[in-house]
Structure formats: C-alpha cells, structure tokens
C-alpha cells in the first residue's frame, strides 16, 4: 500500500465529533477539500450535523447553515438566491444531508429544487438508515436489512434516488465512495465546474448501524462497489449514463461482513443477488442507449 500525497486544503478540522473510523467524516473531508473555501454548507440534522460540531465550535472552515430536517434543498435554494442577489455567483452552495433527510422527509423540496434547477451541489451521505438516532430504517435501507425499526429485516426494497433525480433531468448525478477516492475527487471537481442542481450520492458504510468492525468502513465500501450493490456511475441531463465500476464479485462477499444481514437465508441472498444482476443489466442497457456526450466527461 502506498500513501498518496495530500495537498488538499483541510476544510474539515481535527477534533470533530464523528465515531472513530467513520466514513461520513472521511467522505465530507474530501468533498469539502475539493470544493474549496468559497463554499457555504447546508447541513440538516444528521450524523454530519454532529460532526460539524456544537456551538460555539465548528469542525468546518466554511459557514454552515443547519436547516430543519425536511428542508435542505429549500434552504439551499434560498441561500443560493441570496448569494446571487449579492453577485456571489461563484460561491458554491453544498448540501451535506443524510439519506433520511433526502430519500424520506426531504424529498419533496429536493424534487422542487431540481425542477427549478437551482444551482447547488446536493451531497447525500447515504448510510442506508437513520443512524444518528440509533439505526432505524429509511426508504434507502435495503431489503432484508436489520434496523432498530425492522427487527425481522426490512420487507420492502431500497428506493432509487438516482432514478428519481434522473427523471427530473438535472444536469448531473453521480455516485461515489470514499473506497474509490480518485473517482470521488474527480467527481467533486466535475460537480464544482457545473451549474444547476447536481446530486452526488455517497455510500457511507455505518460501522455501528451496519455492524462493522471499526476499521472495516473503507473495505466494506469497496465490496459494495465490486459486488455491484453500489455501482459508480454518472448521469448527465437524466439521459447520458456512464459506469465507472465493474461487477467483479458475488454480493454474498459484501453481505457477509455486515451484522445487519447475518439473519439472511440462502434463498434471500440468492434473491438479492438476482436483483443486483438485473439492476446491473439495466444499467448497461442505459449506458448503451445513452446519446453521445456533449462535452468530454473529464473535470
């Protein structure tokens, strides 16, 4: 293993309140570093709000507005327009929200902001449940996963935020993971160069909520990508799909390291594998059917 030089400006300070080994903090660190200091963050109640710190402390070197849980995209819209009215069009507005605040209670205003194509980067730190309140299910929790509110395993499937946002035909959507850091950094730089509503969906393996070892966050994030459970992709204007990862191992490898799936029967594992395979085939069709890119897809 080689250490990569870190020449990014530190926008997330040491001493923050994340759990030891947390991938949320690591992901936010790289997102904020790539965005730079001319940025204002909107952080609703979530793990990230805890990491941002209690008054009068702040772990972030940029201004933070903490809205109510369901209002991130609306708050980001108002903030964006106020900055525009002051001629501050270069200042980035970034939302750092969890999956509960995005897939569930915040979806209405996110849809509205996307319809207006408001100019901000919405980063969903998706740990597949309400982890800040002790691991309850959200509509992002995968089928069969144990949570505090689905003790027998979640009955319904995970909602696809990417497809919902693609249906809004926003300029740019991407998935990324701290387990594939180069891809994540490239995508944030690309997002920074674009305007309009941009969505970056980051998978955040939650050590406590998923039942992982303290040092297993990044490895689990990589297993999610390699098994095809969390494909790395980009969608431009809702119609140009591209894949940045390959499916190279069985889903069982990913499930096996997580306590939330320990109760699964072989039949349930097989059914989940079928879903991943079907989803992967659909993605490949979407990539093939995509019109040619308007511009080079490099940042």
């Amino acid at each position: 293993m080689t250490a990569l030089p870190n020449d990014e400006p530190a926008m997330l300070c040491a001493g923050h309140a994340a759990c030891p080994g947390c991938i949320d903090a690591l992901s936010a660190r790289h997102v904020l570093a790539a965005l730079g200091p001319d940025t204002v963050a909107v952080i609703p109640p979530s793990c990230m709000a805890i990491i941002a710190g209690p008054q009068p402390y702040s772990s972030l070197k940029i201004p933070v507005y903490q809205p109510t849980l369901e209002a991130s995209a609306a708050a980001a819209s108002g903030l964006r327009r106020a900055l525009d009215a002051q001629g501050r069009r270069e200042t980035q507005v970034v939302v750092l929200a969890g999956d509960g605040g995005t897939y569930d209670i915040g979806l209405q205003c996110l849809s509205s902001a996307a319809e207006r194509n408001e100019d901000f980067l919405y980063v969903c730190l998706d740990n597949e449940g309400y982890m800040n309140t002790g691991a309850q299910k959200s509509s992002s929790t995968p089928q069969h996963a144990w949570t505090g509110s689905t003790p027998a395993g979640k009955a319904s499937r995970k909602k696809s935020l990417v497809d919902i946002m693609a249906a809004h035909r926003v300029p740019w959507i991407a998935t990324a993971s701290a387990g594939h850091l180069g891809d994540l950094q490239r995508k944030v730089r690309r997002a920074r160069a674009l305007r309009g509503t941009r969505l970056l969906l980051l998978l955040i393996p939650c050590l406590d909520g998923w039942g992982l070892a303290e040092d297993a966050g990044l490895a689990t994030a990589r297993l999610a990508v390699e098994s095809g459970a969390f494909p790395l992709l980009e969608v431009e204007d809702g119609e140009r799909w591209s894949l940045q990862s390959a499916k190279t191992r069985p889903l069982a490898d990913y499930l096996a390291v997580q306590r939330r799936y320990r109760h699964l029967t072989p039949a349930q594992v097989a059914a989940l594998q079928d879903e991943v395979d079907t989803g992967w085939q659909r993605l490949q069709r979407l990539v093939v059917m995509s019109p040619p890119p308007l511009a080079p897809a490099t940042a």
């Binding site: 805890i50 941002a52 209690p54 702040s58 972030l60 507005y65 809205p67 609306a74 327009r81 106020a82």
Partner: protein, 394 residues
Amino acid sequence: MNVRDAGATGDVPAGAPVLLTGNHAVAWAARLARPRVVPVYPITPQTPVLELLTEFQAAGTFDAEILTVESEHSVMSACIPASLAGVRVFTATASQGLLLMHELLHYAAGARAPIVMANVNRTVASPWAFWPDQTDSLAQRDTGWIQYYVESAQEALDTVLQAFRVAEQALLPALVNLDAFYVSHALEPVRVPAQDLVDAWLPPFDPPQRLDPAHPSSWGNVVTQAMYQRHRRALEDTMARVPALAAAADREWAALTGRAWGVVERYRCDGARSVVLALGSLCGTAREAVDLLRAEGQAVGLVKLRLFRPLPVAALRAALAGVHDVLVLDRDHSPGLGGVLHQEIRGALYGLPDAPRVHGLLAGVGGVDVPVRHLAEALRGVAQAKPRNEPAWL
C-alpha cells in the same frame, strides 16, 4: 379605472390616491421595500399578492429573486437562510399556508431573521372554508414573530413598510395580518409613497452578521441548556423593546406621510365607561357601533390593538385606564377556551388596581357577518352584564 394595469406598469402617481385592494397594497409595499429574495406559494386569498409581484418582476420594475417553490414550508425554509445571508426577504401567505410554516416560524425567530410576511387571515380547515378568521395567525403567537393586524388597504401598505423598519432594527421576523376579503380584496383609495421616500425610510439591509465564506460563522448548531436559555432571554429582551420601536416607526412614518396608526389606537374613548377592543377589520364595524351609541349619548369607545406581538401591555393598560367594562371581540376560536384575544387581554390587565371588567365575545368566527346593530347591542349591555369565563357567541 383598471387597477391591475396601473399596478403592473408601475405608474401610480406617488402620494395621490389610487384604488387598490389590500392585497395589491401589500404587493406595492413589498415592491417599494426592495427585498432581494421573495420565496412565495399561492393560496386563496393571498394569491393576488404573488401575482402582482411576479407582474412587477416581468415588467422590470421589481428586481428580486422570486422562488416559486412547492409549498409554504419550503417558502419559509428558503426565507431564513436568505435573510441570514444578508438580504431583505419578503413573502406572503394565508391560513393553511401559515400553519404549514409553523415549525419554520419558530426557526426564523430563533435565527433572528427579520423576514417580513403578509398573512391574509382565513379560516383554518377542516372543514374547508375561505372566510375571514384570525385563528391562523393567533395560533402562531408563541413563535417569536412580531404581529400586526390591519384594518384597511392603506394601513396594510404602511404597516408592511413599518414592519421592515422594526424587524430589521430588532432582528426579528414580522407578520402583517389582513383579513380575508374585507381587507385583502376590498378596493379602497390608497396613497402609494414615492420610491425615494421609501428608500430613505429603509436603508439597505446590512446585518452585523451573515453567512459569508469570507467571515465563516454558522447558524443552527447544537447548543447547551444554558446557551439555549440565554438565547431565549435575548429574544425576550428584544421583544420588550419592540413596542417602543413600533411606536417610533409609526411617529416617523407619520412625519413623512401624514399617516399614523398607533400601536394601540383609542377611538372616541374620552370619558368612555365601556369600550370594545378588537383586531383588524372588525374595528371598522366597531367604529360604526361606537358612533351609533355615542349619538345616543352613551359613553363608549373603541380600542384597536394594532400590535399583537409583543403584546403592548403598558399601552393597553394606559388605553383602558378609567374604563369600567371592556368587550373583547375574537374572530378566532380556541376550542375549550373561547377567544384568544379575550384571554390575552385578561392576562394583560390581571392584577391592575381598578382593572376594567373583561367580557369576551366570539364575533364573526368563520367569517359570519357581524352587523353593526348586534355589536352596538352587545356593547350597550356590557355594563350590566357579568363577565363570564365560558365563551359567548355573537
């Protein structure tokens, strides 16, 4: 005359009376105040405010970022950080819309965001109805917003402009309430002040702190118990200054325009033994009832409460000094209690030596008509009546 066209082209003669509805008077006030961000959502009977502002913008006479979001909840969610970023913010709503904002009303006051919002008082569902009723805004009394209630289109225009001055001085949000249809849709002669006058009245909004990457600071982070209480006490201290700020703003506005409305208005109260006390358009009916009884030689008057939050207790006590009976009208309903204003006035006068007796009357709840003669009869009989705890309905 074609009032809509006059409004949209922006060519109303400054200072001369034109016919405007209360809603259009509000839109004119908002335009003159030069807010930079206006998130807004349509709802009957507020919609003409939204429509005239978007017409102004389309005509190039209103330079604001208008956000047509998907709900009133998102309206207020957008208003707060826009205000905290350091720009003037205006919006308007009514009834269900105000109720949907409830969580954010608390949030705005806590954030000390001096947003000004017009609310057209309309019945609250269920069942559905569209009539004048002030339960919507009175139910927001504990949210930390300054609240005005107005009686006419002119007062609506003047009060929106006064509210911006007071809100920005206090760093508190302000709500200007106008009754559905009686004020929102009635055409009345209104004097629209010149832009120069309003520009001098409202200098550009320049708050001491703002969300700015050049000077990073945050709002909303978790606080300790002691910090929370300190914040509430600071809010209370500011609220305590608002009656004086509102009175000063009204005096200065009068010096510029010749129009004063008072924080509390006394109408024909000299020597009055019985007075009627009300909010908003019911005061128009009450004035006629008072005139009727004065013509009969009865010592009656009207006390109009224009500023409801903060409740101007000292001004109320002064206005009611020497009065024997107060008849408080409530065009609102708090089930299990009766009238909100009735309880507020009882609280304001409690413990005062020789306090007037306070009678409550639920009048016009749900928008039912309040005939002048019915009100006159109630006021005439109040000196012989015994104040009751249970609600009385007109």
